[in-house]
Each structure stands twice: as structure tokens, then as C-alpha cells.
């Protein structure tokens, strides 16, 4: 099918766009999910508000308070990592999203607002404790990622609001992201995002988020608590970390409440979640070890 009829506006300033939003009106950024859903006629907006002409929404800004991402930042922009574990987590996740032509158009904030339970960015936003700024014509508010996702394609965003910015606090530590899917361009069956705050070689805080493991992205706190105090990176000892990672995977699987699908029962997805959490932690451990290693090349050596 083709999309049903709708009104189209392409404002060039944010206030104008916010005034145009409301019941029945959808913001259009990358359109890689929205236009597809309009083909299916599962989405029948009365109006589309095209954001692509609003220059102020097209930004990725790194500062002392972390990374700020505007509503027009495309998935593609995160493939090359910005410095630090935060950027590495974003780039590891970005390459799992669909395929290059879709990543050229689709946006991170669009994906967050669309809130597909299997999408990468919502899980990453949880693991990184992102703060999401929603603006309407009358007010602006900031919602923690954890309170934003309410169910499949359901968020705290009201129809008259636009998700204008995501802020990712700087991560002092290490990160990992691992995904299982049926083919290169498939949606994730399950994905695990891990962010470890590491000081003095030990985990001070662990955040583990899963995509595809429930009706929304979830944090798995029992698994996180199990890791606090664990030594990671260069100073890690023996096989104790492997045991801890495996146990964290088991705890994550127990916390998951996966929705069965034709290619994956709930039991299968739980098993996948256990394996992915363990692997994502191994990756974060390696990430920390790489940072602990003195730089080998002459340019950085002292």
C-alpha cells in the first residue's frame, strides 16, 4: 500500500514546528520507521511536520557534561566514535542498526521516540542514563530515559511534544555492546548494552540494559549489583571476573520477560540474553584493559 493522505508542513524554525504538533500530527525526521508504518497504514497521521529544515536540531555536541544530541543527528554520525567509552558504546551500537542507506536517513532521537522494544538506542540510552528533553509550544521538560519508555512504541512523550535533545552524561569507565540477530539487516532478537563506572580498577557502578528482552528496554539491576566492587581491566585477577560475568548473565536472563516471536521463544531469548550480557561484560572488561595499557605507538608515548 501507499501512505494515506496527510497535510505536510516543513517549518524552518523550532517554535513553528512545535506549534504545528498535536493530536494526529507526527514529527518527521528520518522517516525510516514512520513512512514504512504509513505504507502499512498502521500509522495514519493527519499531518506530518518535517523537521529537516530546522538547522538547530542538527547537532552532536561534546562538552564537560557529556554528549548532547539533537533531533536530526543521523545514526550514521555515530559510526565513527567520539573519544572515550561513551563514544565507543554509541559506535558499537550504531553499526547494528539496519544497513547503511537506512542509517544515512534515520535519526537517534526518532528511534528513541519510536520506542521499538528491539531497537538499539533505547537500550543504550538506559545503560548511559540519558536525559531526554521534550519541548512543546508551552513548556520544556527533561525526562530520564528510565521513565521515558512505557511499552512497545509507547513513551512519556505527549502528541504536542517533540523530543528535541538527548544528553548522555560522560562515562568514566568502560562499555560494551553485543547483539544477536538473524541476518545482518534484521532487527535485534536481543541486544545487551553495558556501561561500567570504573575507579581505581574496580567497578563503582554497573549499568546493564537489554533490548528485545521485554515489552520495552529494561535495566537489570540484580545483575548490576552483582558486579559492584569487581576488579576489571589490567588489574583483574584470575577467572573470578569470568564467573562474575556469567552470573550477571544468568541474573539478567532471570529478570528478562521476553515476548515470544516465530524465530525465538521466550526461553530461547532468555538464554540469548544470558550469553549476550556475559559477552558485553567481557567486551567492557577488554575496553578497560585497553585504556589501562600504556599507548604503544610513538605519537602517544612519553
Amino acid at each position: 500500500m501507499k501512505p494515506p493522505r496527510f497535510d505536510y508542513t516543513a517549518p524552518t524554525a523550532l517554535p513553528e514546528a512545535l506549534r504545528a504538533l498535536g493530536e494526529g500530527a507526527c514529527p518527521l525526521a528520518g522517516g525510516q520507521s514512520l513512512v514504512l508504518e504509513m505504507h502499512y497504514r498502521r500509522q495514519r497521521p493527519s499531518a506530518l511536520v518535517d523537521l529537516n529544515g530546522i538547522a538547530e536540531l542538527d547537532h552532536i555536541t561534546a562538552g564537560d557534561d557529556g554528549l548532547r544530541v539533537g533531533a536530526l543527528a543521523r545514526h550514521r554520525a555515530f559510526e565513527q566514535p567520539v573519544a572515550g567509552p561513551l563514544g565507543r558504546l554509541l559506535s558499537r551500537a550504531a553499526v547494528h542498526i539496519a544497513h547503511p542507506p537506512v542509517r544515512n536517513r534515520g535519526t537517534m532521537l526518532g528511534s528513541l521516540a519510536w520506542a521499538n522494544p528491539a531497537s538499539e538506542w533505547p537500550a543504550v540510552a538506559l545503560a548511559l542514563q540519558a536525559e531526554l528533553t521534550l519541548a512543546s509550544a508551552s513548556a520544556t521538560r527533561t525526562v530520564p530515559a528510565e521513565e521515558f519508555f512505557r511499552g512497545p512504541h509507547t513513551t512519556a512523550r505527549r502528541p504536542d511534544e517533540l523530543l528535541v535533545e538527548a544528553r548522555f552524561p560522560a562515562l568514566e569507565g568502560a562499555a560494551g555492546f553485543v547483539e544477536h540477530r538473524r541476518t545482518h539487516a534484521s532487527f535485534a532478537q536481543v541486544a545487551a548494552a553495558v556501561a561500567l563506572t570504573v575507579r581505581g580498577g574496580a567497578v563503582r557502578q554497573a549499568r546493564i540494559a537489554l533490548a528485545g528482552a521485554a515489552d520495552r528496554p529494561i535495566r537489570v539491576r540484580a545483575a548490576e549489583q552483582h558486579l559492584v566492587g569487581l576488579e576489571v581491566g589490567r588489574v583483574a585477577g584470575g577467572g573470578s571476573d569470568e564467573d562474575a560475568f556469567r552470573r550477571a548473565g544468568e541474573l539478567a536472563a532471570a529478570a528478562a520477560d521476553p515476548i515470544p516471536e516465530p524465530h525465538g521463544s521466550a526461553e530461547h531469548k532468555r538464554q540469548v540474553a544470558a550469553v549476550l550480557v556475559r559477552r558485553a561484560l567481557q567486551q567492557a572488561h577488554q575496553d578497560q584493559a585497553d585504556q589501562d595499557q600504556p599507548h604503544q605507538d610513538g605519537a602517544c608515548g612519553t
Binding site: P3, A10, V35, L36, P100, P101, V102
Partner: protein, 157 residues
């Protein structure tokens, strides 16, 4: 109806279309450029791939109104002065096509990479990632991989 001005392969096309019309449909029906094919219309198969300001995009997931004033390249723009583009020559030489339905999409996918990230042609893993974007039901992909590498000046194998 919306008045939309598209710049396709360097030529201006002023069209009057409903906002709901897809770029792919407008290219084929209003501009008469039927080289761009529509396979799935779900963003999956990649047959409708064109370049928007030099970047490969799915023209089935893009509204024509969104492309007002933008630069679009389609397969019709590849050959110049009766000479096939090096990618087209290579697809022929390396048997990168059989029925040909997916070919325009693959050519534009590869042309987009040639313009924006030519380094992918030297890295087999990155090239596989790129070509995974599109589907071909005939060739088994090896001919396409060889063709794209050949056009980029790499050894086909």
C-alpha cells in the same frame, strides 16, 4: 498538492504532487525515470536506492516533498555521452547481474559509497556490510562483489 522542484541527474523537474507520494513513484511516473525499481516498498530490498545529495537512500521511504530543492542521482545519470559508467562496465564484465531488477539499486548503493566512503572497497568486511543493504535473487552476490571491487580499481577476488 505541493509544488516540488527536484534536481535529478542535473536536470530540473518541477512537479505538482500530493505530499503522500514517494520519491520513487514520482521519479518513475512524473519524471519518467523508470530505471529506479520498486521491489518491496518496505526499505528492505534496496532496489529503489538513489542518491540524495550524494548519499545512498531508499526512495521508497522518502517523500518527494522532502526532496524539494535537493540533488538526486538515479541510475540514468551514471552513463555519460554514451559511455557506460565504470560500475556498469564492471557489472557486465563480472556477471554482477542476471535478471537486472536489483541492478539499479546496487549501482547506486556502490556509487554512493564511491562518493562518500571509497575506503570500504578495500576492506572485504566493510564491503560485505555495505552490500548487505540490498537484495539480489539471481547472482548469489559474488559477481556483484567482484564488480564493485573491479570498478574501484581493486583485484576482483
Amino acid at each position: 498538492m505541493s509544488a516540488v522542484s527536484l534536481r535529478v541527474n542535473g536536470a530540473e523537474h518541477a512537479v505538482d504532487v500530493e505530499p503522500r507520494r514517494l520519491l520513487a513513484d514520482v521519479l518513475r511516473e512524473e519524471c519518467g525515470l523508470t530505471g529506479t525499481k520498486l521491489g518491496c516498498e518496505h526499505g528492505v530490498c534496496g532496489s529503489c536506492t538513489v542518491l540524495l545529495d550524494g548519499q545512498a537512500v531508499r526512495s521508497c521511504l522518502l517523500l518527494a516533498v522532502q526532496c524539494h530543492g535537493r540533488e538526486i542521482s538515479t541510475v540514468e545519470g551514471l552513463a555519460a555521452d554514451g559511455e557506460l559508467h565504470p560500475l556498469q562496465e564492471a557489472f557486465s564484465a563480472e556477471h554482477g547481474l542476471q535478471c537486472g531488477f536489483c541492478t539499479a539499486g546496487f549501482l547506486m548503493l556502490a556509487e554512493g559509497a564511491r562518493r562518500t566512503e571509497p575506503e570500504v572497497f578495500a576492506d572485504p568486511e566493510q564491503l560485505t556490510q555495505l552490500l548487505t543493504s540490498n537484495l539480489c535473487r539471481c547472482t548469489g552476490y559474488h559477481g556483484i562483489v567482484r564488480a564493485v571491487r573491479r570498478a574501484a580499481g581493486q583485484e576482483p577476488e
